[in-house]
């Protein structure tokens, strides 16, 4: 079963994401950026779902860490930021993220986006 890693500091959002994905994927959750960094070092997940606004270690810190350390895991940013388009553009340009999902549209977008990113990778 394909493995998905979620780095998200809010337990309820993490739970909602897990619920949406755990019938099709093996879901691993790291609650917050700090735990996320530890998990990244040893994960065998094939896609990362990453929150941006997190205290201490933010999603941007994680993307920076992945870039510096050459971690090639595909990343889908899951966020509720207000200016989603500009943030998306910025992250796509700077970190070449693979997907973007708004927290308001988890139900509609999350499964589709994970499927798309994984099939793109395999295809």
């Amino acid at each position: 079963m394909t493995k998905v890693l979620i780095i998200e500091d809010e337990p309820d959002i993490a739970t909602a994401m897990r619920m949406l994905l755990d019938t099709d994927y093996k879901v691993e959750v790291a609650l917050g950026g700090k735990l996320g960094l530890q998990r990244l070092a040893k994960t065998d997940a094939e896609v990362l779902l990453l929150d941006i606004n997190m205290p201490e270690v933010s999603g941007r810190d994680i993307l920076e860490h992945m870039r510096k350390n050459g971690i090639k895991l595909p990343v889908i940013v899951v966020t509720a930021v207000a200016c989603a388009d500009s943030v998306r553009n910025e992250l796509e340009n700077k970190y070449r993220i693979d997907g973007f999902v708004s927290k308001t549209y988890l139900t509609e977008e999350l499964q589709k986006e994970v499927k798309r990113v994984l099939s793109k990778r395999k295809g």
Binding site: N53, A82, S102
Partner: protein
């Protein structure tokens, strides 16, 4: 050789000279070494308001008697005259000439000795300074106006900067509020979409999880909306309904409410709340303060403990909420109580509650503050005076 300049002597020479001098833009006078005025041109008549017949043949200082000079200028005129009589060039000296019609003319007087044959005479030139003074006054006024405009411009720029920064804060506040609503809404939509599928009811544990998610997140949305409206009310001049309140009972009710939530997160929850005197306050608002502080402490603490303590001394009560959480970033510390400020570090509703707390506490004559070490934890403490009147319910 024919003289092509002026006829010297004979008919015409005096008339020509007088015509030239009468058309001079400056006043011209001539007096001898004893000070007797020998000549004045038309401009002198215009500047003094006296006919030349009144002046000719009279001593120079006759001007004083004719009230042409202002009293304060007489010593200066005497010096000038003395210098001229001694054969020294004088001036430029400024005076005001008074005319018989009461008008005043600013003038500049210069004089120098000349020799005509064996006689030493003194010729003086009087320049009308009205236009120059007017121009100077105008220049001064313009400079003053410019300075005033500069000051106003600076004030306007400052006010603009203040408004711009408030506007930016409000824009960010609206964006953050939208963010605060989007997150729980997204969670609830996920849970509802699962509940819509009939098969979920066959899995009671998951069914309960969904219902819990909806309940918690709808409460979170309600809190965000209430806090946002509270900020709006504060902006419009919020009034509080104060009455005698059993404060330690209220704190205990809040700690009872939050102890299970903290324990669920694996945190120790300690309370040290003795009997406190009754406080004249708005009980609902004060409960909001304690709830906000405890809720924030739990939200930003992943391991360790929360301690709520209260004490009463010196005419006041103090309530403190201490945590071993992530602390407040140094750069955020000075904004933490700002009206439209949230600490942007994920989590829900962070910060907004603190500006409400500050307003409530200060509206009750109290103070609120904190100490925080990033990575180690924070302690928030507020104090309220106990000597508030408890008799009436005032707003």
């Amino acid at each position: 050789m024919a003289d092509k300049t002026l006829p010297v002597g004979g008919y015409g020479s005096r008339e020509i000279l007088e015509t030239v001098l009468d058309n001079s833009p400056d006043g011209v006078y001539l007096h001898n070494s004893t000070g007797i005025i020998l000549y004045t041109n038309k401009k002198i008549e215009e500047l003094t308001g006296h006919k030349k017949e009144e002046m000719l043949g009279k001593p120079f200082l006759e001007f004083t008697k004719m009230n042409v000079l202002e009293l304060r200028d007489v010593p200066k005129a005497a010096l000038l005259f003395g210098g001229a009589l001694l054969g020294r060039p004088t001036g430029p000296d400024e005076f005001y000439f008074k005319r018989p019609d009461g008008s005043r003319v600013p003038v500049e007087v210069k004089s120098f000795p000349i020799m005509v044959g064996n006689e030493r005479l003194v010729i003086g030139a009087v320049r009308d300074l009205t236009e120059r003074k007017y121009a100077m006054r105008l220049e001064l006024e313009v400079a003053e106006r410019l300075a005033e405009i500069e000051t106003q411009k600076k004030k306007l720029a400052d006010a603009y900067e203040g408004l711009k920064s408030l506007d930016e804060m409000k824009t960010k506040f609206v964006q953050d509020t939208a963010h605060e609503l989007k997150t729980p809404l997204g969670v609830m939509l996920v849970a509802v979409s699962f509940l819509k599928k009939k098969d979920v009811t066959t899995d009671p544990a998951r069914y309960e999880e969904m219902v819990d998610l909806i309940f918690r997140n709808s409460q979170r949305m309600r809190k965000t909306i209430e806090d946002t409206l509270e900020i709006y009310k504060i902006e419009k001049g919020r009034q509080y309904e104060k009455k005698a309140t059993d404060f330690d009972e209220m704190i205990k009710a809040v700690t009872d409410q939050f102890t299970p939530i903290a324990r669920q997160k694996g945190l120790e929850f300690g309370t040290d709340v003795p009997n406190l005197p009754e406080i004249h306050c708005d009980p609902k608002a004060m409960r909001t303060v304690v709830e906000n502080l405890v809720e924030n402490a739990i939200k930003y603490t992943d391991k360790g403990r929360i301690d709520v303590a209260a004490r009463s001394d010196d005419g006041k009560i103090s309530v403190s909420v201490k945590d071993t959480g992530i602390g407040i970033p140094e750069e955020a510390q000075k904004y933490i109580f700002g009206r439209f400020y949230r600490v942007s570090a994920g989590g829900s509703g962070a910060g907004i509650g603190l500006s409400i707390c500050k307003h409530i506490v200060e509206s009750h004559g109290g103070t609120i503050g904190f100490t925080s070490s990033p990575g180690k934890g924070s302690t928030f403490e507020f104090t309220l005076p106990t000597d508030h009147e408890c008799k009436d319910v005032s707003t």
